[in-house]
Symmetry: C2
């Protein structure tokens, strides 16, 4: 009986994870669920955003379904105690180096995109983001310069093995799709990016069937607005992936639609909506649970090998939308629970 | 007689700078022009992208009008010899820490934007980008890890004085516009950003008339697509400013329309289109010279105190567009020279 760790987090996390749990339970796959406190909710109860019991649960589980963290009510805490540290800590502790962030526009949502329908309609891409390195996890701190000034610093770095393993995920993902991979870096300025590019080019020799291109991150941010249809799979570092995936989400209508998977190569994974905890609408039944439900579908596919069940969940979300269900972010008045019901009904 | 250093660079640089020069000359302000080699053109002629004579000219001049560099034909050179090093070197040598990047949609260009007209039409913002610090100019290189792996690294850093002076430019710019300033950082992850945010908040005390907000860079990238009209002035670091300004440019129709100013607080400045050198269309008369011409307008305003002349140039560009001139990037067939002529005719 596969064990799923449910880590709802703070803000809208609990509401959307509950709908995803109901969908998973309805599939009759014999899953067991165990809940853990994380983020602001954990800090409020236990004084730490990632309590040892939560980390142990995540380590024991076959997969983690994560909601959202980041309530700014905790922004004045020491960085180490803020809600976001929970998600960073889980990624690092579980070695989840490969983050898959698909972005596509579901049929019928063309009107929700800020892009023209003919531009938005061409979006169907996956961003493969490295998740345990880069400037996120290098040495960082505050020091005093020789001029006596306070200086903040963060070391950006990648070693060849870190790049190699994420590059392989990028190439494999491209191989399973259209066979096109775009590696995004800033090699005209950064040594980290130059090493990144050299290693990606070397790995490409093992994937003669994949067409590799390179793009600078500033150009990529522009092209994702101008002509997103040109991209199939993008592989990039932690920081650039953070920025580009949020941006791509908006091309796709709403960030409330987009799931993600964080994998470590063993089948174990953490699955979460890419949206934040949106404390302004928490507890009001306004949140869109689709990103959480689609994250559950990715969990079925990547951690449990349940491809058919994953397809079923994704088809049910599409059907619910085709049926007219629209939460507030999509311009409608469907509640979180009603959207969950619509998906359940379409399963 | 003010001296303008013309540094056309490579690719389409020379074509677009020539149109901007003709516009400046037509204003009868008694300007003198002197040309210098830079970027790929300088490397080809003298073996270095920023020859000493060019740097000396830029230092001697009252202002620099820069075209574009970055021909990938030089990508296999050592980083220190690549065309981009010229622009980075000039910024650093001249101390040009403040980069102003306005983005607005010129009337009539609604159709050229990938955004819906009602979204694109609301864009009128300035990105104030720090230009001589951040991960661009920190210690960088390649080293071997304790595991014997090659590692690339770049140190991201800002000291309090660097943040203070760019924050002031941000607040002053906001004061001269709508009085709203959004500071973009990644303070939930980066110590550099936390220091940035602390200093910006401290500087805000001197600007009680400006409303300051903070946004994480991933969210900003999303909001710039979703609802760009919410922004007036954005102040941010070198790397985030690079990404966001390219992105904003596309919301505004075409990167071929967008000028920039790099200033050091003495009146001296370097003015350049934010587009690259586009070697694929170089020499074909297809490039849009508007970004270069509008950069010349910024030169008149910021380095020469010629506000009326600057307004005249900007109005002439608007008139040329209203008159129907459209280069290829705007979906038309007007040539570079014809676009220059249309602006001259409207002066
Ligand atoms: C909450 C934050 C630390 C996180 C990140 O930057 O990775 C988030 O933006 C994300 O993309 O998952
Ligand atoms: C050419 C490159 C080094 C430069 C930068 O990254 O600053 C460019 O992208 C820009 O924005 O002016």
């Amino acid at each position: 009986m596969p064990l799923i760790a449910l880590l709802p987090g703070d803000g809208i996390g609990p509401e959307v994870v509950e709908e995803a749990r109901r969908v998973l339970a309805a599939l009759d796959l014999g899953l067991t669920f165990e809940e853990g406190l994380v983020g602001g909710a954990a800090y409020a109860a236990e004084g730490h955003p990632l309590p040892p019991a939560t980390l142990a649960l995540a380590e024991r589980a076959d997969a983690v379904l994560f909601g959202a963290v980041g309530d700014p009510a905790f922004d004045n805490l020491d960085r180490a105690l803020r809600p976001e540290q929970a998600v960073l800590g889980l990624r690092k502790q579980l070695g989840l180096f490969a983050n898959l962030r698909p972005a596509r526009l579901f049929p019928g949502l063309e009107d929700a995109s800020a892009l023209r329908p003919e531009v938005a309609g061409t979006i169907d891409l996956v961003i493969v983001r490295e998740l345990t390195g880069d400037v996120y996890f290098g040495e960082k701190g505050t020091r005093t310069t020789s001029a006596g000034l306070r200086q903040g610093f963060d070391v950006m770095a990648y070693d060849e093995e870190e790049v190699r393993r994420i590059a392989r995920v990028g190439f494999e993902t491209a191989r399973g799709r259209s066979g096109r991979l775009c590696s995004v870096d800033k090699a005209n300025v950064l040594e980290t990016s130059q090493l990144w590019r050299d290693v990606v080019v070397a790995v490409a020799a093992d994937y003669p069937d994949v067409a590799l291109t390179h793009m600078y991150v500033d150009n990529a941010a522009m092209q994702l607005v101008r002509a997103p249809g040109q991209f199939d799979v993008i592989v990039t570092g932690n920081l650039f992936g953070d920025i580009l995936s949020d941006q791509a989400s908006m091309c796709a209508g709403s960030i409330g639609m987009l799931p993600s998977a964080a994998l470590n190569g063993t089948g174990k994974g953490m699955f979460e909506p890419i949206h934040g905890s949106a404390p302004d609408i928490a507890g009001q039944g306004k949140a869109n649970p689709c990103a959480a439900i689609l994250s559950a579908a990715m969990l079925l596919r990547h951690s449990l090998g349940q491809d058919a069940a994953a397809d079923r969940v994704e088809a049910a979300v599409a059907a619910a939308l085709t049926g007219g269900a629209r939460t507030a972010d999509l311009g409608g008045a469907t509640t979180t629970r009603e959207m969950g019901e619509a998906v359940l009904a379409a399963l």
